[in-house]
Amino acid sequence: MRSDPIILIIAFGYLALLFIIAAWGDRRAEKGRSVIGSSTVYALSIAVYCTAWTFYGSVGRAAEHGPSFLLIYFGPTLAMLLGWLLIRKMVRIARAQRITSIADFISARYGKSGRIGALVALIAVIGVIPYIALQLKAITISYGVLTSYPGSATDHTPDGLFLLDKSFWIAIVLAVFIILFGTRQLDASERHEGMVTAIAFESIIKLLAFLAVGIFVTFFLYSGPVDLFQRAAEHPELAQSLSLADVPGGSAGWVGLLVLSTLAFITLPRQFQVLVVENVDENHLRRASWMFPLYLFAINIFVIPVALAGLMLGSAAQSPDSFVLTLPLAAGKEVLSLFVFIGGLSAATGMMIVETIALSTMISNQLVMPMLLKMRSLNIEQQEDLSGLLLGIRRIAIILILFLGYLYHALIGDSYSLVTIGLVSFAAAAQFAPALLLGLFWRGATQAGAAAGLIGGFAVWCHTLLIPGFAQSGWIDVSLLNDGPWGIAWLRPYNLFGLEGYDIYTHALFWTMLVNVGLIVVVSLFTRQSNLEQTQAALFTEALRQDALQNTPLWRGQTSRGELRRLIHRYLGHRATQRLFTQYQPDTAARETKIDDDTLTASPGLIASAEKQLAGALGNSSARVLINSVVKGEALDLNAVLSILDTTSQTLEYNRQLEQKSKELARIGEELRSANDRLRELDRLKDEFVAMVSHELRTPLTSIRAFAEILRDTPNLNDEKKAHFLDVIVRESERLSRLIEEILDLARLESGRMTLKPERLDLVQALHQSIDAVARLYEERSIELKVSLARDCAEVVADPDRLQQVMINLLDNARKFASTQDGRVNVTLEVVGHCFRLSVEDNGEGIPENQRELVFEKFHQVEQGSITQPKGRPKGTGLGLPICRGILAHLGGRLWVEDPENLGGARLVMELPCAPDQRVITQE
């Protein structure tokens, strides 16, 4: 099972599977059904952070240094928590400016400086190649362990036989993979969908492999975690292994490593690649901000059990870095150990693939292209199509990086344990953090400051970590470590200026950051930014605030379309040029006159977008140089940018104000409309009122006039007739004057000019007086009037005359509407709370429920009889009840219609409040 050919077939079979998956991912992307458009895939691709170092090294570090291995994962957890602030900003900038790598990003921030870009690329290559070597070393060791267990594995094959070294062939296969899936398009900022798909797949494999070995150790070798920890506790030498005391550097070392891993998570070239460049949608950051930490949690949960189990196994477990392999092997589980080997392989290859793509982009865009552009002798400017050349450079860079990695591994890889190389690389990448983070949030950071900080930090890193590493591997005399260079004690790399008590990483982190941040801040304060730098600084620091600014072309220069077209064509090839130029058509007027492209000026939008296209392929600084070569003029300076910013924010403010105003206007309009509606209604009512009044007045007038004319024109009328006619005239005149009186009353009521003289009086007494007044009329129609009073005396405050008017009106109404035969009217007085209620009920037809409020409207007459059989003309003026209600309202009372109680006709109820205490009155 563990023979060479089988393992090799499985290993290379796995790599072949990666090719298939990557090809599938690319195919899906071409069809527009992208696999990587999900936050889960995004989170899994970030998990390229977990390399072979995690896979084998975490257990090793846990075995040797207790829980400090977790710090490597706490840092990224914290960084992802801040991702919505920090990484989202970077993603947005990278998208707007077509940024392809961290070197490009930092160079773009500092005025698209070629110098800074080259510096970052150089540091990245020097710092990260050992890390790639580490992955190859991990593959070699794990292969060795797998094939030669229980014998001890040799790190690599004897000198000169690298063709037999499996890791060399793995490097070759990876080079082919990366060239195929990493350099298909020139435009590096177009995502490598196939590659990301493969990386996400690798993340799943390594997680499953680690969980498998963890579950095997915890639940099959031991019966659960409790048992495992109990057994470990029986070993006295393990007692301290889980406490902080085992962490190098103690508390300070703990914090130092936490800071280091946080910074490195953002600045490692491969992390920048997956986090920023390969990000499809910034909203994926939301879910990734907990999903990725959850992934880290899962892949680490079994690290301590495996480490303890390995330590308890003793010498059979060999080096702590290979516990994950040796534990299943010692138990004879060969299939499981093969799966673990594949897991380690996927962790290593995933890292190498992404890191190599990131580094090759940096090398071609930040180091090689600027150099080629400067070498006039090559006449590179004159060549027709350079896109092939660019791809070629990138492919050579890929091969070179992997070869360098292999070389490093083959020559000096022996001397380091896995964790050591990893952390040295972390510290190198962390040198980008000050320039990156300060640049994102502090507009004042200048190019000179960033350059000084990077150089200073890198120099201190070389002194405190890189060179001592060489010394430890025996390349340089070890006396360097103990006595310092040239015997100067305060320059000892691990105890710079005599600083003692820290582990080497915290020590190096402190000094590098002190120099790096210090130089950036101090130099920035004493240097000035160029116009372009100011523009870029504003764009970077304001990235989350102003979308408008990002889309504003910041070019003021001029060039012709023809010239621009030739430039783009040379570097990006025919298709990209066509795409760009069809997007920016000249306006129709220019097209009609058929002016040649060479004389047409390119629009600022076209120039800006051409620069972005070039930046996507060549990096920002080279794109800048090229555009400068054809465009005359300068980019906007800071003031111009700021004025754009101001205008946008002003516009926003105006918009807000306008919106507020228009809302107010709408509200006022609504009010006006409703007021208008009310006025219209009132106007209509007035017209109706006038019409009704005239009508009501005309009826008696007409009859008076008619009878008067008869009297005038027929002198020989007999006396009896004459008397009758005169009688009619008098009655109609009375009615007329009563009507006018009522109209006047109503007018006074409605205008509020009715003067009432309220005084204390007895309602019962007033009622009797009213009944007396109508008694004769009742007798005439022989209507029975029944009065039932709850009180003998009911004191109210009211105007006696008006009150009588109301009561007489109610009684008279009842009389009019009571049944013609056997008419009956009930008058009742009750006390309800603090009020007296007087109800008058008749046995007439009653008032239909839907008309009970209408009767209080002016001139409203209840229809008598049914609609089909009207019963004669209405019996009143239609003004009585409205007047009554008005008077009562003035007196603080109410008047309404109720359901009939006993007689089944209309029942009108008036209510007046009881008079206040005598005492209160006298006091007034």
């Binding site: 207790g66 829980p67 977790l70 710090l71 706490f74 957890t77 914290l78 928590l81 801040l82 919505w84 602030l85 920890f229 109990q230 470990a232 506790a233 006295p236 393990l238 007692a239 301290q240 292994s241 889980l242 406490s243 902080l244 005391a245 508390s251 703990w254 914090v255 936490l258 909203n283 939301r286 879910r287 901000s289 907990w290 999903m291 930490p293 959850l294 949690f297 949960i301 301590i304």
Partner: protein, 65 residues
């Protein structure tokens, strides 16, 4: 009406994470259990999981664009 942004919730959460993972609090938990092994790893994993769950809760409940 004041709306809390996602950021204004994530920043305090980050500070909580820093508190969880740095020495003063760690030292409290760095005590041996009855069997002699330190509680520290258990605390670290528990604090880590709590932090992840809180983040998930905050992020998934926010609908900010």
């Amino acid at each position: 009406m004041q709306k809390r942004t996602l950021l204004s919730r994530l920043i305090p959460l980050t500070l909580l994470g820093v508190l969880f993972f740095t020495p003063p609090i760690l030292l409290i938990f760095d005590t041996p259990a009855s069997n002699g092994l330190s509680w520290l790893p258990l605390y670290l994993f528990a604090a880590w999981l709590i932090l992840i769950l809180l983040t998930a809760l905050v992020v998934e409940r926010s609908h900010e664009e």
